[in-house]
Every structure is written in structure tokens, then in C-alpha cells.
């Protein structure tokens, strides 16, 4: 909803042709202002101020925002860990992606699974968030994947840079990854089929590969202990 609000707000001036029409748009605002007091103007200004930083957010702050909602109870204790893609992992990653991963280490975010005291209060102790990148056609697609006990809890496309295939950001697509797990070697396929999107095949393929990669790497992590 946020994004729709934003686009409506900021696209309004765009719909007016230059010069004369823009002026009439301004007059219209003044007219509305007279009727509704300052409410309309304020609402527009506030939505501009509120939504602008979110929409211009860089990759890091998008990751931060994702982590906040992935670890609502324990965001303070979330830490980044790295897993090295070496040996068997290197071969498996090659098999999943069709090429080596862009980096030799992949970061994941999690909370320590041992909490002080006897009762494990935290529900998200085995939850891990992976931020991964893969090229669709010729640009990186940034994906965030939350995994809990070998199962995808959530998948979101944080950044999409390609000219086509943006539909992979839509909920009907990303929701298909939820509850998905990984079939064992040698296929490393998703256990529930994710349907392709017509006209977005390359993006579909990239995101699906990342889901498989995240599930695979997650299966290789030993529980973190303090």
C-alpha cells in the first residue's frame, strides 16, 4: 500500500502537461486548501517526507528493515556470520547456480540459539536470514530469504534492477516459496514447484536459484552456540 500511495502522490504533477496546466493544478490545490483547510496539503507533504527516504533507501537500509521484521523480538542480538563456500559446498553451489557464487563467503544473520536460563524463550533462535544476489538477465537481483529449520519462511526481492521481469517482486510469486524445502543431492530442487512467469523467465530463474542456494547453505550451518 505504501508504494501505491507514494506513486499516486508523486505522480500527480507528472500528469499535468508543462506550463499552463501545471498552474491550473496549483490553483486546484489552493481551491482544495480553501475547502479542506490545510489537511490535503499536509497529507501530501507528510506522505512525501515519509515515503521518500524509504523509496530511496540503499541496499543496506533495506536489509536492515528486512532484519527488523524477520527478528521482531530479538533484533538487538542479531549478528552476521559468514559461511565459506569451499570444498563440497563449492561444487554444490556450482550445481545449483550453474556457476560459482559471486563471493567466496556468504553472510547470514541470526540470533544466538542459547539464551541465558533454561527455557528457550525466543521463537526465532533457529531462524536465519540470507541476503543473496544473482543476475537475471544482466543485472543483480537482491533477494532476502528467511529460513527456519530447513524451510523457507519468507522470500522478498529487495532490489530489482533489470528492465523486464519485475513481476518477481509481486506477492503471488514470492509467496510460492514459503514452506518450501530442499530436495536432497543430487538435484537440490525445491520440493514445491514454483510457477514461471511469462516474460520474466530469467528473473524467475535467478530468484528460484537463490532460494535453492539459501536452503542448501542453511542446511550446512551448525547451530550457533555461545
Amino acid at each position: 500500500m505504501k508504494s501505491i500511495h507514494l506513486s499516486l502522490t508523486v505522480s500527480k504533477p507528472k500528469t499535468y502537461p508543462k506550463g499552463h496546466k501545471a498552474k491550473s493544478g496549483l490553483n486546484k490545490n489552493i481551491f482544495l486548501q480553501a475547502i479542506f483547510g490545510f489537511k490535503m496539503v499536509f497529507a501530501s507533504l507528510i506522505s512525501l517526507v515519509l515515503f521518500q527516504p524509504i523509496s530511496y533507501a540503499d541496499t543496506l537500509s533495506k536489509q536492515q528493515a528486512y532484519l527488523s521484521q524477520a527478528f521482531p523480538q530479538s533484533i538487538q542480538s542479531v549478528q552476521e556470520h559468514k559461511v565459506w563456500i569451499l570444498g563440497d559446498k563449492k561444487q554444490a553451489v556450482q550445481k545449483i547456480l550453474g556457476h560459482p557464487y559471486k563471493q567466496m563467503r556468504v553472510g547470514y544473520w541470526t540470533t544466538p540459539n542459547t539464551t541465558p536460563g533454561l527455557v528457550p524463550f525466543r521463537v526465532d533462535f533457529s531462524r536465519r536470514v540470507w541476503f543473496l544476489q544473482e543476475i537475471g538477465k544482466d543485472k543483480y537481483i537482491d533477494v532476502a530469504i528467511t529460513i527456519e529449520q530447513g524451510e523457507i519462511k519468507q522470500l522478498r526481492v529487495l532490489e530489482f534492477r533489470e528492465s523486464r521481469g519485475w513481476e518477481v517482486k509481486l506477492p503471488f510469486f514470492t509467496e510460492q516459496f514459503e514452506q518450501n524445502t530442499l530436495a536432497p543431492e543430487p538435484t537440490y530442487k525445491l520440493t514445491n514447484k514454483v510457477d514461471n512467469i511469462s516474460g520474466a523467465t530469467l528473473s524467475y530463474r535467478a530468484v528460484t536459484k537463490l532460494a535453492r542456494l539459501a536452503l542448501y547453505l542453511d542446511s550446512k550451518i551448525k547451530p550457533t552456540t555461545k
Binding site: 500500500m1 508504494s3 501505491i4 507514494l6 506513486s7 508523486v10 505522480s11 507528472k14 515515503f51 521518500q52 524509504i54 523509496s55 530511496y56 540503499d58 559468514k82 559471486k102 563471493q103 567466496m104 563467503r105 543476475i135 538477465k137 544482466d138 543485472k139 534492477r161 528492465s163 523486464r164 519485475w166 513481476e167 517482486k169 509481486l170 506477492p171 503471488f172 510469486f173 510460492q176 514447484k193 510457477d195 514461471n196 512467469i197 511469462s198 516474460g199 523467465t201 530463474r205
Partner: protein, 385 residues
């Protein structure tokens, strides 16, 4: 043999000796050294990753696609048997993409195409795309300026061989739309989370001296006459799993670009709509397109209305194999005698998702009084990267 007394001093001595022994053998590296080494390796990895992500090489990308066709067709043209025969091998398209990312918001993309392999023979080199794309308003809008594909139809923008069925592209989009249709101009695009997207584009128009030839009127951004510009708008909905519905309208006030040799100004309006429905491994594509062309010469030549449609069911047997059928009907005139139909059935084999081998059977007919038809088969190889 003298035995060692188990006095506290002796035990302490033995423990100290054992500790120093193990420390000097099993732990050749101290904890501090080990941790430092670990930190050094991690730092090295971080630096390598940073160097990799900031390298200019990553920001410039290369891609491409291509397709080789073999046609084996035989038929009759205007009553002359054999005149529609075609046994031909053609490297139809060899395409290279070059892209560059200037920053997170500004990108360049291009597509250079060599058609029919050799410019000394039947070949031609085309610049089909070359544009700067900018994200506006926090990525809610994109603007493209340069040589841009017109947002119309199913295969105009997505035409890499592994993405469509049939060796040759469908004749309806080729003869009516007409693909590949690109213009020099500027375009705005916006996508919404509801699954609705829209495109607005202004570019060079068609230029047909006769005032009705659509495909031959494409100027391909080569010193294109820009007296009468072309305006395109598209609305697309992809908000439901497996469904795509789109409607494109294109308008130009005079496709003769002011040439009055053959009559009055020829305004031209294209309406195109299509739907794609995908349920599990079954896909159904349907497209309809029509031109309404004004002006005296279009009317005089029965070309004031040109339209066509096709319907294409396909089924993916598994990851590697898919079968399809396609029925195409189109007419570049209002005279039913010129109606053309083509039926295709065939399959695609993908040994890799980006590599395809295709085969299809073709049956073509034109409604003319004199016999006009051909049939036969096509084989093809295609790739993209």
C-alpha cells in the same frame, strides 16, 4: 627400578611437563596467533569481495542471443506451382547486448543485431536498442531515452529464441504489429504492487509514402523523419499467478510524414491486446491486433483496416521438452480474398534452459482466387546468454 613418589610436587612437575609437551607439539600455533590468522584471512576475503564489487568490469555486462533456421517448404504462389518453394539455411539473427551501470539509478542497455549473417549477401546490421534508463521517484518510475522497443505485443520486447515456440516468429505480430518495432524516443514506465504496470512512449512514427504500408514504414531510427510522431500507451496486468493481460494503443497523425504524393494525410491507430494464461505446465497465448488507417490512399487500396490474431496452446512435458500448436490469421487489407492463415505444430527441446532446438510443421494459405499456399517444416537452433 626406582619408582617416583606420587608427591604433590611430582604430580605438579609431571603435569607441567605434559602441558609443555602438548603445547609445543599439538598446539604449534598459539590461540592469539590463530585468532590473528583468522582475522587476517577474513580481512583478506573482505578486501577481495570489496575489490570485486567495486570493479568496473562488473558494471559492464555483455549478453546475446542468436538463431539458425532451416526452412523446407514447398507450395504454389499465384497459381504457379513451386513458386513458394523454400529450402534455405539462414543464421537469421546474431545479437549482442552491451549494458553498463553508471550508478544504482542510471543504466545503459543496447542490442546490436546482425541479421542473415553477411551484409554482402542478404544481411543487415541493426541497432535495435540503445537507451539510457533512469529510476525516478525512488524507483517507482523508469525513464528510457534512446532507441527503445515499442511496448506492444508478446514478442516485441521478449524475443530471445528459447522464450518462444516455433522456429520463425509468429506472422501476426510480424505483419500487423510489426515486430521487431523500435523507435528513437523516450518512454516512461511504472509498476505497481497490485500487478498493474503502464508504459507511455513518444518516438518516431512510421513513414510510408503510400500511406498504408505498416511493416515497410518502420524507419529504424536511421535519419527517421519526425514530422509526425508516434504515441504509445500500454496497460498491463500481471497481478494474479499465471496471468498476463495487456492492452496497447498507438497513434500517429500522419504515417506519410507529410508526403502528399499519394493522397491525404494518413492517421494511424493500432490497438493490440493479448492474454497469457499459465496453469502448471499448460500455457495459452492469444493476441489480437488491428490498424485503423485514415487517408484517401489507404481507403482506395482497401488497406484502411488491417488486423490479425493468433492463439497458441502449449504444454511443457518436462524441463527439456515442450509441444505447441498455433493458429494465425491476418489480413493487411479489408478484402477477405487477401486473408492469410497459418497453422504451426511442433516442439522445442531445451538441453539447457538457455539453449533450444526447435522443429515445427507449417501450413500456410492465402484466400486469393489463384492458388497461394505452402507447407513444410522448419528446424531451428537458438540460444541466449
Amino acid at each position: 627400578m626406582k619408582t617416583l613418589k606420587r608427591s604433590p610436587i611430582n604430580i605438579a612437575l609431571a603435569t607441567a611437563l605434559a602441558a609443555s609437551f602438548f603445547a609445543s607439539n599439538a598446539m604449534a600455533v598459539s590461540d592469539a596467533e590463530y585468532n590473528e590468522l583468522k582475522a587476517q584471512v577474513n580481512e583478506l576475503a573482505t578486501q577481495a569481495e570489496q575489490a570485486q564489487s567495486s570493479s568496473a568490469k562488473n558494471k559492464t555486462t555483455v549478453g546475446g542471443y542468436g538463431e539458425l533456421h532451416y526452412n523446407n517448404l514447398s507450395g504454389t504462389k499465384n497459381g504457379v506451382a513451386g513458386a513458394n518453394d523454400k529450402q534455405e539455411i539462414d543464421f537469421h539473427r546474431f545479437v549482442l547486448f552491451f549494458g553498463h551501470e553508471f550508478n544504482e539509478k542510471i543504466r545503459f542497455f543496447s542490442e546490436v543485431e546482425l541479421e542473415h549473417a553477411n551484409t554482402q549477401q542478404s544481411g543487415v546490421v541493426e541497432l535495435e536498442q540503445a537507451y539510457i534508463e533512469m529510476d525516478l521517484m525512488g524507483k517507482k518510475f523508469q525513464n528510457k531515452t534512446g532507441v527503445i522497443l515499442v511496448p506492444v505485443g508478446i514478442i516485441n520486447e521478449t524475443h530471445e529464441p528459447p522464450t518462444f515456440y516455433g522456429v520463425e516468429r509468429n506472422p501476426v505480430e510480424k505483419n500487423i504489429v510489426p515486430v521487431t518495432w523500435y523507435q528513437g524516443g523516450t518512454a516512461f514506465n511504472a509498476n505497481f504492487e497490485s500487478g498493474i504496470s503502464y508504459d507511455l512512449m513518444i518516438g518516431e512514427g512510421l513513414n510510408s509514402a503510400d500511406g498504408y504500408t505498416v511493416r515497410g514504414g518502420r524507419q529504424q531510427v536511421s535519419k527517421a523523419k519526425a514530422k509526425s510522431l508516434s504515441y504509445t500507451g500500454r496497460v498491463k496486468y500481471t497481478g494474479v499467478k499465471g496471468l498476463e493481460i495487456a492492452l496497447t494503443a498507438n497513434f500517429q497523425d500522419d504515417m506519410t510524414q507529410g508526403d502528399r504524393t499519394n493522397g491525404s494525410a494518413a492517421s494511424a491507430t493500432l490497438l493490440e491486446t493479448h492474454a497469457i494464461y499459465n496453469i502448471q505446465d499448460f500455457t495459452l497465448k492469444a493476441l489480437y491486433a488491428q490498424w485503423d488507417i485514415g487517408g484517401s490512399n489507404a481507403k482506395a487500396n482497401n488497406a484502411d483496416k488491417q488486423s490479425g490474431y493468433y492463439i497458441e496452446p502449449s504444454y511443457k512435458l518436462n524441463e527439456n521438452w515442450g509441444v505447441f500448436g498455433r493458429y494465425n490469421a491476418w489480413n493487411n487489407t479489408t478484402d477477405s480474398k487477401n486473408e492469410e492463415t497459418q497453422m504451426n505444430v511442433g516442439f522445442s527441446y531445451w538441453p539447457h534452459p538457455d539453449v533450444v532446438f526447435k522443429a515445427d510443421y507449417v501450413n500456410y494459405k492465402k484466400n486469393t482466387t489463384a492458388k497461394n499456399e505452402y507447407s513444410g517444416f522448419n528446424l531451428g537452433m537458438g540460444y541466449q546468454f
